[in-house]
């Protein structure tokens, strides 16, 4: 199976450590992963903000770059949802590659049949199920099952977990007041768990929540769950 990593623009620019964790994790599980250097951005920002014409070249570009691969894995529920849900509507020829694009926990669980990634992470962790992963992809329990198998982890429930953190792409700028109110509630809920780490499947949502926590002077750190699944021996 030829497996490609779609890193996403946010991870490429701001969170390269998440991409490295995905590569390390897959190699540890015995799978080679390629990084097609011509990849750019999935086009979600444009498509969701009402710029379909500007999104279309990015959709076509993605379809072209990833066409040769049997599966594409991405450490973002939101970008995976963009590809799977919207690509077939925007560019019908992109439907094939869209169907072969997986969020990390889907690839691990459904394609590779992995539950225990061999990780060890002795921290108290709360998990925030981000909206597009939860509602568009229907990730369900997959990320939690993977996290529960991590050695030493103390996984604690997050109150109001299903509620959006208020990021929403340009929503955070266009409706900054409402976004900040949602963020404040999410930060309060995360802090109430007593966790050291708040994990999620999307670094963009974590950037939002983490930005709120750091502004509030909180000691709670945000970590992409791929980095937890890759932690421990061999890392």
């Amino acid at each position: 199976m030829r497996l490609a990593l779609f890193i996403t623009c946010v991870n490429d620019l701001v969170y390269p450590a998440t991409g490295e964790a995905v590569v390390r994790l897959l190699r540890r599980l015995g799978h080679a992963v390629e990084f097609p250097g011509a990849q750019t951005c999935c086009g979600q920002l444009h498509a969701n903000s009402g710029y379909r014409d500007e999104a279309l070249p990015l959709v076509r570009h993605y379809a072209e770059v990833f066409a040769p691969y049997d599966a594409v894995v991405t450490p973002s529920g939101s970008c995976a949802a963009m590809v799977r849900e919207w690509y077939p509507r925007l560019v019908p020829e992109a439907a094939d590659v869209a169907a072969r694009t997986y969020e990390l926990s889907e690839l691990l669980t459904d394609v590779l049949g992995v539950t225990d990634t061999g990780a060890s992470y002795p921290h108290r962790v709360a998990y925030h199920p981000t909206c597009h992963g939860m509602r568009v992809l229907g990730l369900g329990e997959r990320p939690l099952r993977l996290l529960r198998a991590v050695r030493g982890i103390d996984l604690v429930p997050l109150p109001g977990a299903e509620e959006c953190c208020g990021f929403g792409g340009t929503f955070a700028l266009k409706n900054a007041g409402v976004s900040a109110a949602m963020l404040a509630d999410k930060c309060r809920a995360a802090e109430s768990t007593g966790a050291d780490v708040l994990a999620a499947a999307d670094n963009s949502c974590l950037a939002h929540i983490g930005g709120g926590l750091s502004r509030a002077g909180s000691g709670l750190r945000t970590v992409h769950y791929a980095e937890i699944l890759a932690a421990g021996e061999g890392s």
Binding site: C9, V14, P16, G37, Y51, S179, L183, S214
Partner: protein, 462 residues
């Protein structure tokens, strides 16, 4: 096709939201009320094994109806007329107000009782009647509260959701005859309203209602309610005038089976609503029955293949109760009688997007609304569709175009990543950024690009 008029637009959403966000009491009232109803809904929906099949049936019936709406409306008119009702057609809010005003004026009455109706709020009927010297008395408890306060509804089902019982007690003491000593106990408040309204029911000669459903096959109208005030209004007066949006049609009487199961569970979180009234023309109630079929922009919505699903809405308000944006602003920020997620897709379509340009953006696209919608309206999809049509600022458009131009070419993209990383290697976050990111840093720190992008690290060997 003409756009809708009436109470369908207001100030820009972000601006209208600001004072509401700062109102702590409003936030507490909303969180408590939406949280309670959300839990009730989840519990009673969880009891139904075939809930997903029911939702799909509801969606399919509505989609079929929209494809055949002109024929179904004619069939409805024919059946209702055959049963003794008089059917009127209103192009927009002004026409509907004029028709209803004329019908009431012809009876010589100066006071009418009203059943809670979103359509009459949409067209601004009460204000239009007042201008003609006719008093419209709201008989639904929450609508009565809103009316006594000189306020506007902030929720489709619970129009006074923004008020708590202490506020309602103070209002009743000040504005309701004979309620000077009422307490803030819900039973006491309801008893005061009942005493006040009973007089109105017994003396009213004319009632105005909306309808939840209009059955094409039989010409039957259906009103679903909880308090029994609707039943009083629909049976006691001599003249009954019902304002019905054209999208309320269902093809056959048997279709009601699906919606009468979907609606109460989604709406009030009850297995069954206490009162379901159905009438077909003139029967044993009022001797004069009028039905006003309202377009007010609906034909324009129908013409849009993606957007028309907004017309499937059965006004349950489940989407309002789960919406994290609605929970923080309340309904008044939306500027339309239709607030929340459904309002954000319905109002801009009824008025034309240009007249409601901020509403399609009043959502994070979190999808909680779509998940609970009893007729599976894909609200996030329609929001994105409407964002496409919404007018944009030239600066935003230029920035989006530039970004797309960079991102469609791997070399340009890689250069941009390097340029972004270079000057900022020492710091990890920004506390204050220039416009437009200043909106972000007003409440959150902004993470900065890493010293090296992933693609550079990959080249060096991960």
């Amino acid at each position: 096709m003409t756009h809708g008029t009436g109470n369908l637009s207001g100030a820009d959403f972000p601006r209208a939201a600001l004072p509401l966000l700062a109102d702590d009491r409003l936030r507490r009232n909303l969180r408590h009320a939406t949280g309670t109803i959300r839990a009730k809904r989840a519990a009673v929906v969880g009891e139904v094994d075939d809930w997903e099949e029911l939702r799909e049936a509801g969606r399919a019936i509505k989609a079929h109806t929209m494809r055949h709406l002109p024929e179904l409306l004619e069939r409805f008119e024919e059946a209702a007329a055959a049963a003794g009702a008089t059917v009127h057609w209103a192009r927009d809010a002004t026409e509907a107000c004029a028709i209803i005003g004329d019908l009431i004026a012809a009876t010589g009455e100066s006071e009418v009782v009203k059943v809670k109706s979103m359509a009459t709020q949409e067209i601004g009927l009460n204000e239009a009647l007042e201008a003609r010297g006719i008093t419209a008395v709201e008989t639904d408890l929450a609508e009565l509260i809103v009316q006594l306060a000189g306020d506007t509804p902030s929720h489709i089902l619970v129009p006074a959701i923004h008020k708590n019982r202490g506020e309602i007690r103070d209002l009743f003491r000040a504005a309701m005859p004979g309620a000077q000593d009422v307490s803030d106990e819900p039973a006491d408040l309801a008893a005061a309203a009942r005493r006040h309204l009973r007089e109105k029911f017994l003396s009213a000669k004319v009632a105005v209602s909306g309808a939840n459903f209009a059955v094409a096959e039989t010409g039957t109208l259906v009103v679903v309610e909880s308090e029994g005030n609707g039943r009083m209004c629909l049976t006691l007066p001599e003249t009954l005038i019902s304002l019905v949006g054209v999208e309320k049609i269902v093809p056959s009487f048997a279709d009601l089976e699906v919606f009468l199961r979907l609606l109460p569970r989604s709406s009030t979180g009850e297995r069954m609503n206490p009162y379901t009234s159905m009438w077909t023309g003139v029967a044993d109630g009022p001797s004069a029955v009028h039905i006003v079929l309202l377009d007010n922009g609906r034909s324009a919505v129908l013409a849009d293949e993606v957007g028309r699903q907004a017309l499937h809405c059965i006004r349950c308000s489940a989407c309002l109760n789960v919406c994290p944006v609605y929970e923080r602003t309340g309904g008044h920020a939306y500027g339309s009688v239709y607030p929340g997620p459904i309002g954000a897709i319905l109002s801009p379509q009824l008025t034309g997007v240009a007249a409601n340009r901020s509403l399609p953006f009043a959502s994070t696209l979190c999808g909680a609304c779509y998940e609970v919608c009893p007729v599976k309206i894909d609200i996030p999809r329609v929001l994105v569709h409407l964002r496409q049509e919404a007018p944009k600022s030239p600066v935003e458009r230029a920035a989006m175009r530039a970004m797309s131009w960079v991102m469609r070419d791997p070399r340009r993209y890689a250069r941009a990543l390097r340029a972004a990383a270079l000057p900022l290697r020492r710091r990890r976050t920004l506390r204050r950024a220039p416009w437009p990111l200043s909106a972000w840093t007003a409440a959150r720190d902004l993470p900065l690009p890493a010293a090296k992008s992933f693609r550079e690290r990959w080249k060096e060997g991960v």
